[in-house]
Amino acid sequence: MSLLSPTDQQTLRDSFAKMTRRVKLLFFTQAIGCETCLETRQILDEIAALTDQVVIEEGNLVLDKDRAASFGIDRAPGIVLLAGEDDEDTRIRFLGEPAGYDFLSLVDAILAASGGSEQTLSDASLAAVAGLAEPITVRVFVTPT
């Protein structure tokens, strides 16, 4: 059964139509000990079914441990957003099932990575972030509801 209603599918189709480059969802899963991996894969499949600009590549957290680690992923489900034909690392990650509000965050992130959404940060904020001397990691803890 589909998780997304026909109305939601159409809304998302319209949003994804603005994407100007491909986004790859590199999805790290594991077969045992992951209660939400199957449903996460279903969510990603439903997104990818709505646009040719989103593709999914699945990796196994256990078998591809080094590759996962190279993207900073050490648990599943973990999603890495790569953009463009050369799989540029957007440095955007999702840990856990992108359900509830987090689903919208994932859609927003896909659109932002693909050039399909307006820049919403102010010039002052962009300048402040551009002035960072060292990379930082920002973890945002959320719940689905």
Binding site: E35, T36, G72, R75, I92, R93, F94, L95, G96, E97, P98, A99, D102, S105, L121, S122, A124, S125, A128, V129, L132, I136, T137, V138, R139, V140, F141, V142, T143, P144
Partner: protein, 54 residues
Amino acid sequence: MTVQASEFYDLAREYRVSGVPKTVVSNGAEILGALPEARFVDEVLGSLSDPSRP
């Protein structure tokens, strides 16, 4: 990265998540709840505690 606190209790504990959304930055900054954009960026960058800033 976004982290589902309800799936990864160990991370939620490690980063002392008492409510959501909670933002934890590798530079030590912590923000509980939502803030206006300009303040959020300031807090994330840790510039409010930067002594070189007037």
